[in-house]
Each structure stands twice: as structure tokens, then as C-alpha cells.
């Protein structure tokens, strides 16, 4: 059989591989065939009949979205019959459509509006009464307005195929056919909003965005989600310095159109009423609003004194701040405060993995590998809950490439439904359980292994040994928690490792050691809430906190600086696969400053010179000095993701092994930050739980 098919479309000769659908093949000739129900990557429907074209030697019009190209096929997409058919379909769709475009959220972005404009009649011949059905609220996130629905089944498919959930169905028949939620009158689902954004019309709308604004009144800012470590691009719609919606309809970023509830809706912490908008200084035992200069001076005075008397500092960095901030922070700690007592909340054993894979150039998986590689092994993670985008990739890989998925977890997970094999283990039995998969894995041509915090320290090396013993190419990922957990490691927010995993001369205290140190004199916490879970052993340390909210940790502070969130700053972040992407500031919240600026101001106040605190300048320094970060700038500046290079050389182990304990967020939690997202708080499914098979 020939591997190329020749056909003629509107007189133009085109070629396409066999099996290509006509609707896609014509794009090569710059021809567009209109479609509602056809959706790239989802199952074929042939329901909307918008894509009818003439194919010579067939009496009836043909459906281009399901018709594979054939040798010698002659197609016409621009004839009176085709135009009349399209007009007819648009006219049919409008018969029961309410035409309430002026108040519809989708107005201006609606595919039905566009099609009507391009292919429809000028006036309606429909004189009958339209059918009315009341709008329904299915959840805090999802609203459904049946009259606007054109029954394209995109929502059903994206939930079933894309999310692996089947939370939407359809009941009734004929003109009364109607989309329904899984719990009869409400939804119990991921609340991801995929269905809402994929809806070509305003039938599905979100509780977050409804009736808030018109699309053209917003500016759109593409940035990286601050919640988990998958690094999804989210395009924030902004009006008057307020984020009004998030989506990724332009499919930019490594996530395509995917976003989970956090990436799409949990931006609302930015305008939470309890957001700190002024520095606070403790006076007479109480935190009181203070000016920036007062607060900065207070900190500089105390730190200088502590430093002079040889006191002990502890610095805890953040997993949501940028690479530039993290780099600057560790420099500040090491050079200005003179301490290696710096750490952050670690969630995965990347250093050991990098050490175990040292020298290999093709052993670190990218997020794309989860979609492209023939087999994926997941060890110790509830992927759909903890790593939503990777889970999406895995499902798409199964659908589109028949990939084989293997699961080793302590309890049921959603991936079981698509898995070639699942094994369960009891804590400690992780590696042993893999032996049950060995034979199957050996038969795979290649493998991606993703592992959670259950595999750490020596177990990481054993896992790599296991991978090596399979005799097939294996790539690895250590699963992490937050948007820049990986960057915190790479930038050296570690007591024993500096940027790029270089050993420091005298390792400092770890996070746990700092908290347990009764003689700690100063603790500086940036964008973290260690006192949410731990107690501070030292009785009277001077605590400085930079955060968005008055967290448990901030409650203990002497000085609190109101920080800007990731959506309010620029810089770069690195996702769990080591893919570096750029943040774009969407809004500015009055009274706050990006952490980088706070560091800079503090350095200046201390009379230290750490260089200019401009993100782009610092990133240049990172590129020049941090192992793996010499990545091509154009990729970043054009909104792409560039993976850092593998390490060549030894990564020293910490002097004392400490248990890494990830946060294990579900889809509806996001550490302390999640408590300030109304969306995450109000959905019925929150807070969710792991290993429920959901």
C-alpha cells in the first residue's frame, strides 16, 4: 500500500497519509471546512453535519470529519450545494437557540456566532415558538443552559475521554435531548471546567466567570499555574487589575488546552479579602501595619545585631517563588547572613535521582513523554489527584497511541481504569511490588517511570537499578508538589547543596533541624508555612515572613512583608520534569511587592551588594552559573518550555538522611494557599482524598 494518497480539493492537488480525515487533509491546501462536533483528539461523532462537502462519484454530500482520504478523490468545498447545506445547518441550529448573545458569557468567542456570520442566513425563517428550558446549576463551577446547547457532545467526550471520568451524559431524545450530570441533579467530579471551555457556545458556563465581563473587555496574560508542579500554562483574563478567568483555549504551553480546577479557577486567592497589603511589625506583642521603610529597617537592625553577635539564622524558602528569587535568596543567606541554614519543604528526591542518572543524557522524562512514550509506570502516586496534567497526558497516550500504563500504588487510582496492569503494596513494599510487573515491563519497547515520595534515598537508586535491569530505555521523573518545587532544588535552597547541586563547604541545618533548634536566633520564612504543621523549638527567635496571607507562620513573626503572588510577578519557574517556563505578571495588588524586590530592598537596607534585583538579569546569571540551566532563551521568551540538561557528575548526599514528606495535595487542595481560594473551598468535592480510585 502506498504511504501517500493524492486527492484534489477545489482544484488543488494535495497529498496526505492514508487514513487522514478529509477535514484535516484540506488544511494543507489552506482550505477550512467548518465543524462543531469534530474535535481534534476526541472521538468522531458526525453529528453536526456542518462539514458536508461534495465528493465526485458519490450522490450524497459527504461528512468530511469522518471520511478518510482516498486515492484520486475529487472534493469540492466551495459549491452552491455545499454553501446551501452549511446555511441550512446553521439555520437548524438557530431554530431553538435563544439568541441571547448580548448577555451570554460566550458572546464574542462563540463558535455559533462565528459560523452564523460566515455561513448563515441574514434572517431567520423560523417563526415558531422556541423551546425553553430553565438554566441549571450543577456545581459551584458548572452551570448548564440547555437552550443554548447545540448537542455537539464535546463536553461529554472531554470528560469521558480526556478526564477519564464520564461525569456527563445525555438523556431524552430528539429536540429534548439534554446533557445531564452524573449525580442526577448535580455533579460530583473534578470540577476542572474542561467541559465549559470546550463548549463552542455558552451552554456551559462557570460559576467563577458568569456575567462578570465581556471577553473583549479583558486583557489576556499567559503565565504558569502556581498550584502544582506540572507547570501548566494558564491564560488569565484580566480587567481593572482583577483576574476574572483562567483558561488555555489557545492551547499554548505544554499542557495544550488542559487545566484542572486549580489552574483554571483557583486564581481567586489573589483578591481574597485577607490578602496582606501592608507590612506588619510586631509592637507590644501585636502585629501592626507599618510602612515599608519601618519594616525593612526593623529587619535590618535585628539581623545586623544577630549577625554581629554570631547568632544563628535559619532561612526557609518557597516552592512557589521564581528561580530568580530562589537564587537570590540563597545568595542572600549564604553571602549576607553568612549561613548555609537554608532549606525548603522538599517533596521528592530529585538530588538522588540526578546523581543516580549522572552522565546519562536521555534519562529524564519531559511532560510530553507521558503522551508519547509507549509505556508508563507510576509508582506511589495518585496521579489524577496529585499530578493532574501528567494524568491527562497518560490518558491521551492510551487513547491515541494505545500506550500501556502500569500502576504500583497503595490504593486504587483512576489510572487503574486504563492500566495494562496495577499492583497494590503496603508501605515499604513499593519496590518489591514492581517485581510482579517485571516480565510485562521487559516486553515494552521503552518506559517512563514516575515515582512519588515513597521512593527516596537509596530506594531511588534501587528503582534506577530495576529500570536498568529491564533492558529497555527508561526515563524517570521524581514527582513533586508545587509550581517551583523543582526550581527550589535546582537553585540550591538546600543546606548542603548550592545552585546546580554543587556541594557547599559546611552543610547547614535542614528545615527540620532549624525548627528543632532551641537556640535559633532568627528565622526567615519566604512563601512557606512550616508552622502550619510543625512547632518552633526556639523560644524567642526573630521571625520574618514574606507571604500573601497571615499564615500560621506569619502569626509568629516579628515582621511580615506582603508579597506578590506568582500571578503578579515575572521570572521563571521549573516544573517537575525540569522544564523551565516564564511567568508573566497579570495584575498588581496594591501594597504588595514581589519577593525578589523585598530581598533586594532588604539587601540594600543591610548595606550588602548582591547585584541588581531584576529577574532577567538574574536569569542571565543562572544560565551562566547553574548546571543544566544553559537553555536557549528564545524558547522561553516566546512562551515555550525548555528542559534543563542532565547533570554530569556526582551529587553529594545530605550528611544526614531525612525523610522527605510531600504535601500530597488532591485536586482540591493546594497547601496553605488553597485555603484562600474560595473556589477550592466551596466545591462539594473538596478537600478530596487520595487513593479512592477517583
Amino acid at each position: 500500500m502506498s504511504d501517500i494518497v493524492h486527492l484534489t480539493v477545489d482544484g488543488k492537488a494535495i497529498e496526505a497519509p492514508p487514513g487522514t480525515l478529509l477535514i484535516n487533509a484540506v488544511k494543507r491546501a489552506g482550505i477550512e471546512i467548518p465543524a462543531f462536533c469534530y474535535y481534534d483528539g476526541l472521538k468522531l461523532q458526525a453529528a453536526c453535519r456542518m462539514c458536508l462537502v461534495e465528493v465526485e462519484k458519490t450522490p450524497k454530500l459527504q461528512v468530511a470529519c469522518t471520511l478518510p482520504v482516498a486515492e484520486g478523490m475529487v472534493v469540492h468545498t466551495d459549491t452552491p450545494t455545499v454553501h446551501e447545506a452549511r446555511k441550512g445547518m446553521v439555520e437548524f441550529l438557530l431554530t431553538n437557540h435563544p439568541l441571547d448573545c448580548p448577555v451570554c458569557d460566550k458572546g464574542g468567542e462563540c463558535e455559533l456566532q462565528d459560523m452564523t456570520f460566515r455561513y448563515g442566513f441574514g434572517e431567520s425563517r423560523f417563526l415558531e415558538q422556541k423551546q425553553h428550558i430553565d438554566e441549571k446549576q450543577w456545581s459551584a463551577v458548572v452551570y448548564f443552559d440547555r437552550p443554548r446547547c447545540i448537542n455537539c457532545y464535546r463536553c461529554i467526550r472531554v470528560c469521558d475521554e480526556g478526564m477519564g471520568l464520564t461525569a456527563l451524559g445525555i438523556t431524552n431524545r430528539g429536540v429534548l435531548a439534554e446533557i445531564i450530570p452524573n449525580e442526577h441533579d448535580h455533579l460530583n467530579c473534578d470540577e476542572c471546567g474542561m467541559c465549559i471551555d470546550i463548549c463552542p457556545v455558552g451552554a456551559l458556563t462557570s460559576g467563577m466567570y458568569r456575567y462578570k465581563t465581556r471577553p473583549w473587555e479583558m486583557k489576556h496574560v499567559g503565565t504558569i499555574c502556581t498550584h502544582c508542579s506540572n507547570g501548566c500554562k494558564t491564560t488569565l483574563g484580566v480587567r481593572n487589575d482583577e483576574i476574572i478567568r483562567g483558561n488555555n483555549r489557545d492551547r499554548s504551553g505544554l499542557n495544550g488546552e488542559f487545566l484542572c480546577i486549580k489552574g483554571r479557577y483557583a486564581f481567586d486567592f489573589t483578591h481574597h479579602a485577607e490578602r496582606l497589603q501592608s507590612p506588619l511589625v510586631r509592637r507590644n506583642g501585636k502585629l501592626e501595619a507599618a510602612s515599608w521603610s519601618e519594616a525593612l529597617a526593623e529587619v535590618a537592625k535585628n539581623w545586623t545585631a544577630i549577625k554581629q553577635r554570631g547568632g544563628r539564622f535559619g532561612v526557609i524558602g518557597s516552592t512557589r517563588t521564581t528561580n530568580e528569587e530562589n537564587f537570590f535568596l540563597q545568595k542572600f543567606a549564604r553571602q549576607v547572613l553568612g549561613t548555609n541554614n537554608i532549606d525548603h519543604h522538599r517533596s521528592g528526591d530529585v538530588p538522588t535521582l540526578l546523581d543516580a542518572l549522572s552522565g546519562r543524557t536521555d534519562a529524564l522524562a519531559t511532560t510530553a513523554d507521558f503522551y508519547e512514550r509507549k509505556a508508563v509506570l507510576i509508582v506511589g502516586a495518585d496521579l489524577s489527584q496529585e499530578q493532574p496534567f501528567l494524568a491527562w497526558q497518560v490518558r491521551a497516550n492510551v487513547r491515541h497511541h494505545n500506550a500501556h500504563i502500569y500502576v504500583a500504588t497503595p490504593g486504587p487510582v483512576r489510572e487503574d481504569r486504563v492500566a495494562a496492569a496495577s499492583v497494590r503494596y503496603q508501605e515499604g513494599g513499593e519496590l518489591a511490588s514492581l517485581e510482579n510487573l517485571r516480565e510485562k515491563l521487559r516486553a515494552e519497547p521503552e518506559l517512563v517511570v514516575a515515582f512519588g515520595d515513597a521512593i527516596q534515598g537509596d530506594a531511588v537508586r534501587q528503582l534506577v537499578n530495576f529500570g536498568d535491569s529491564l533492558g529497555v530505555p527508561v526515563k524517570y521523573v521524581a514527582l513533586l508538589d508545587y509550581s517551583n518545587s523543582r526550581g527550589a532544588l535546582d537553585m540550591g535552597l538546600l543546606p548542603h547543596l548550592g545552585p546546580g547541586y554543587h556541594a557547599v563547604d559546611t552543610p547547614g541545618m535542614s528545615l527540620a533541624a532549624m525548627l528543632a533548634d532551641e537556640s535559633l536566633d532568627a528565622l526567615w520564612v519566604v512563601g512557606a508555612n512550616p508552622l502550619g504543621r510543625h512547632v518552633l523549638a526556639a523560644s524567642k527567635p526573630f521571625v520574618v515572613v514574606q507571604d500573601l496571607f497571615l499564615t500560621d507562620t506569619a502569626e509568629h513573626a516579628a515582621v511580615v512583608f506582603p508579597a506578590a503572588s506568582a500571578y503578579e510577578k515575572s521570572g521563571t519557574v521549573t516544573n517537575l520534569c525540569g522544564e523551565v517556563q516564564r511567568l508573566e505578571a497579570a495584575i498588581k495588588v496594591a501594597g504588595t511587592k514581589p519577593d525578589l524586590e523585598i530581598f533586594g530592598l532588604l539587601a540594600r537596607e543591610m548595606g550588602a551588594n548582591l547585584g541588581i534585583w531584576q529577574a532577567s538579569k538574574i536569569f542571565e546569571e543562572i544560565r551562566g552559573s547553574v548546571r543544566g540551566y544553559n537553555i536557549p532563551l528564545p524558547i522561553l521568551t516566546t512562551g515555550g518550555a525548555a528542559q534543563t540538561a542532565a547533570l554530569n557528575g556526582h551529587v553529594p548526599a545530605p550528611p544526614r538522611a531525612e525523610r522527605i514528606q510531600a504535601a500530597h495535595n488532591t485536586l482540591f487542595t493546594s497547601g496553605s494557599l488553597g485555603q484562600f481560594s474560595r473556589t477550592l473551598q466551596v466545591v462539594l468535592e473538596a478537600p478530596g482524598a487520595l487513593y479512592q480510585g477517583r
Binding site: 458526525a46 437548524f92 448537542n151 429536540v175
Partner: protein
């Protein structure tokens, strides 16, 4: 008791046992020549069975008239997957009521036909999909099946032939669309009866994704006769390419409505006269729906034709499901069009846009029109909207809705005009539709 008097002019092939008491008993069937064709078929190579069916010129009696032998030959008999046999007993095409009789009066003939089908395509499991309204028939069919099991005509090693076949009844639940073969497959899988994309055809990937042979009740019921007497004998009853007899369901304005078995090629007007006893009340014939409500309507002057698939196609209509509806001169054709469209709007599965929206639009427009609120401009719009559906829907239900409507608007335009300007329906004041 039969529902209508048989007519001596009938050619009774499929109906020859009609009226014999205790039809659900296998013994009664055997005593009347039953199951002999199956035994004969067990001695025939499968290709020969299919060949015989091809020779018979039997065409699908469900409506589409596809050559049955050809369809059987499409089933990949050597496929390692299980193959299923399905009988379409959804009988929902308005005007059609014959499958009911075949199941009620000769259930074992159907079972035997399916057994032979099973031999031909190497299938060992069959389902009869019976519309939910026929609950009494479901019960009867279950009794007949139980009795066939009890007497070794179903189950393992049937009559020592080494052939196994299990047969079950599946109830529908009220949906015309489930008569469409692929919608039926989704329905039997426990889903909404929404048609599937073709290809793959059911013969290759049907019920539960496996090769499936699907035929109408009458089609299967014809098969034992073909095998017993030979395909050629069956073919000879009809016209070229239109083999055998048909059960025609005569209804509407005739003196003697009823289901009658006649050879294909029988003249239509003669049938109305000799079987139906002519138009009721001595009235004039206005129109005939030749094979169920999906067929384009023929005017009286178009009815001087013989009844076979090809001739009706030439006349611009279809032989369809055998439901012939006779319409007299006092009938309002706008009303007829409206009632037909109400049916399709009610039965559209809603999957595709033109049928879902088009049938309801036309229903509303025809209703308004019949209520006297029509405008002259509506008349062409009714035709145009129907044509926007025709040939553009996902399955043939859209065509089935469009075709009669287009024919009525084109052929009876003056009746539409007579409803204009707020005039009441010109037919409604007549006490026309008096009861029989």
C-alpha cells in the same frame, strides 16, 4: 382467531400455517412440516445455504430491501470472534403490523429461519429484539423458545446435528429509531438507541463489537421456505431480482383492511380492489403510502403499477416495510403530513442537527399551517427545510421524515393553499372519518 379474514387470492408461503392452534408448540410446527429445512441445511455447506438465499432473490423485508444472501455473505464466518444473530422485531414503521403476526402465528418458523442463519454464518447465539409494546408477543415468543429448547430444537447439539444455538428475546422500550439496525445494536447493548457510524457495518462489527447478522422477522421467516423448496422456487414467485412473496399490511380507507401475503409484482390497484374490497364508502382514491409512512406518497394516478422494489423506486417511492396506507378523497393531506411529521419529531433520536431540529421545526410549521395561521411563503419553506434534511442526516430517519413531506407538498400544493388566509381546514367540517 386471526385478526382479519384471509383472502383466497393470497399466495400463502410464510403464512400457510397461520391459524393452526398452539403455534408456540414445537410439536405442532414439526407436525406441519416445520424444522425440516433446518435439518436439510445441516447437511449443506454454509456457502450453499447462502447461495440458495442469493438465488431466491430475497430482499430485506425491514424496509431497505437489501439482498439478503449478499448480506449473509458479508459476515466473516471464519472470524475468531463470536458471531451474533439478531432479529429485528422492532416493527415501528407506521402502517406496519406483519412481524407481529409472523411471531404470533408461526414463531417456530422464525426460530428455524434464525437457526439456518446461524448455520450459514457460524453463529451460535441469537437475540430477537421485540418492541416493548409487544409484551404479549415477547411472552409468546419466550414460550415458543422454551418449547424449542425442551424439544431439542435449540440449545446444545440440536437434534444430534452437533450444532449449538441459543436464542433469547430482548425487549425494546418504545423507540422507533431502535429499528434502525445500528441504533438497535446500541440499544441491545443497554444504551440509548443512537445509530452508529458506518463503516464498519454490523456484519463486521455489530453487537458488542462482533460480527452480527441482522434481519427482519419476515426475512428470517422466509428462509425455511427457501431452503425447503429451493431458492429458485421462491424467486419464481416474484419478479426478477424481487423474489418471493410479501406480507402487505393494508390499512386506511379500504373496506377490508388486513395483512395479506402476495407475490412481489402484484398490481397495486388490483390489490386494493381484490383484497381491500376497494375504497371505503365508494369514495375516490386520493393517495397511497405504499410501504410505511417513510415512503413518498403516490397520487391515485401514480398507483397503476406493480408492487416490487424496483418498480416502486422507479415511481419515486419505496416498497419499504409493506405498510400500505390507502387515503381517500376526503382526507386532508396537510393533516396527513402533520401527523407523519409529529411522529418523526417524536422519534428523532436527536443525535444529528438536521433531523433533531428539522423535524421539530416542520412539526411546528405544519401545525400552525393546519391551524389556519399559515402564510403563502411557508409552503416553499416546508419543502426547502425538508430538502435541507434529505440526504444530510446521520441515519435514514431524517430521510424518512423528509421524503413523505416533500412528496405531499409537491403533489398536493393546492391543499396547502386551501388552508391559507385563516381559512379552516376544508376537510374538517365533513364527518369524513366515521368509524368502521
Amino acid at each position: 382467531m386471526l385478526y382479519n379474514e384471509p383472502n383466497p387470492l393470497e399466495t400463502r408461503v410464510l403464512t400457510k400455517r397461520f391459524g393452526i392452534p398452539n403455534s408456540e408448540k414445537a410439536e405442532v410446527y414439526v407436525a406441519n412440516g416445520g424444522y425440516q429445512a433446518f435439518l436439510k441445511a445441516t447437511g449443506m455447506p454454509p456457502e450453499k445455504i447462502i447461495e440458495e438465499v442469493k438465488v431466491s432473490n430475497l430482499r430485506g423485508r425491514g424496509g431497505a430491501g437489501f439482498p439478503t444472501g449478499l448480506k449473509w455473505s458479508f459476515v466473516p464466518r471464519t472470524s475468531p470472534k463470536p458471531k451474533y444473530l439478531i432479529c429485528n422485531a422492532d416493527e415501528s414503521e407506521p402502517g406496519t403490523c406483519k412481524d407481529r403476526l409472523l411471531m404470533e402465528y408461526d414463531p417456530h418458523q422464525l426460530i428455524e429461519g434464525m437457526l439456518i442463519g446461524g448455520l450459514a454464518v457460524d453463529s451460535h447465539k441469537g437475540y430477537i429484539y421485540i418492541r416493548g409494546e409487544y409484551r404479549y408477543l415477547i411472552t409468546m415468543m419466550e414460550h415458543a423458545i422454551d418449547d424449542a429448547y425442551a424439544h431439542g430444537w435449540l440449545g446444545k447439539n440440536i437434534q444430534g446435528t452437533g450444532f449449538d444455538f441459543d436464542l433469547y428475546v430482548h425487549t425494546g422500550a418504545g423507540a422507533y429509531e431502535c429499528g434502525e439496525e445500528t441504533a438497535l445494536l446500541d440499544s441491545i447493548e443497554g444504551k440509548r438507541g443512537v445509530p452508529r457510524m458506518k463503516p464498519p457495518f454490523p456484519a463486521v462489527a455489530g453487537a458488542w463489537g462482533c460480527p452480527t447478522l441482522l434481519n427482519n422477522v419476515e426475512t428470517y421467516s422466509a428462509v425455511p421456505n427457501i431452503i425447503r423448496d429451493g431458492g429458485a422456487a421462491f424467486a419464481a414467485l416474484g419478479t426478477p431480482k424481487n423474489g418471493g412473496t410479501r406480507l402487505v399490511c393494508l390499512s386506511g380507507h379500504v373496506n377490508k383492511p388486513g395483512v395479506y401475503e402476495i407475490p412481489l409484482g402484484y398490481p397495486m390497484l388490483e390489490f386494493i380492489e381484490k383484497f381491500g374490497g376497494g375504497v371505503r364508502g365508494g369514495k375516490k382514491l386520493k393517495a397511497v403510502i405504499p410501504g410505511g409512512s417513510s415512503c413518498p406518497v403516490l397520487t391515485a394516478s401514480e398507483c397503476d403499477i406493480i408492487m416490487d422494489y424496483d418498480t416502486l423506486a422507479k415511481a419515486g417511492s419505496m416498497l419499504g416495510s409493506g405498510g400500505m396506507v390507502v387515503i381517500d378523497e376526503d382526507t386532508c393531506m396537510v393533516k396527513a403530513a402533520l401527523r407523519i411529521m409529529r411522529f418523526y419529531a417524536h422519534e428523532s433520536c436527536g443525535w444529528c442537527v438536521p433531523c433533531r431540529e428539522g423535524t421539530t421545526w416542520l412539526r411546528k410549521m405544519l401545525q400552525r399551517f393546519h391551524d389556519g395561521m399559515g402564510q403563502a411563503s411557508d409552503i416553499p419553506i416546508i419543502g426547502q427545510v425538508s430538502k435541507n434534511m434529505l440526504g444530510r442526516t446521520f441515519c435514514a430517519l431524517g430521510d424518512a421524515a423528509a421524503m413523505p413531506t416533500i412528496s405531499i407538498v409537491e403533489k398536493f400544493r393546492e391543499e396547502f393553499e386551501a388552508h391559507l388566509d385563516g381559512r379552516p381546514c376544508p376537510y374538517e367540517h365533513k364527518p369524513a372519518m366515521a368509524l368502521a
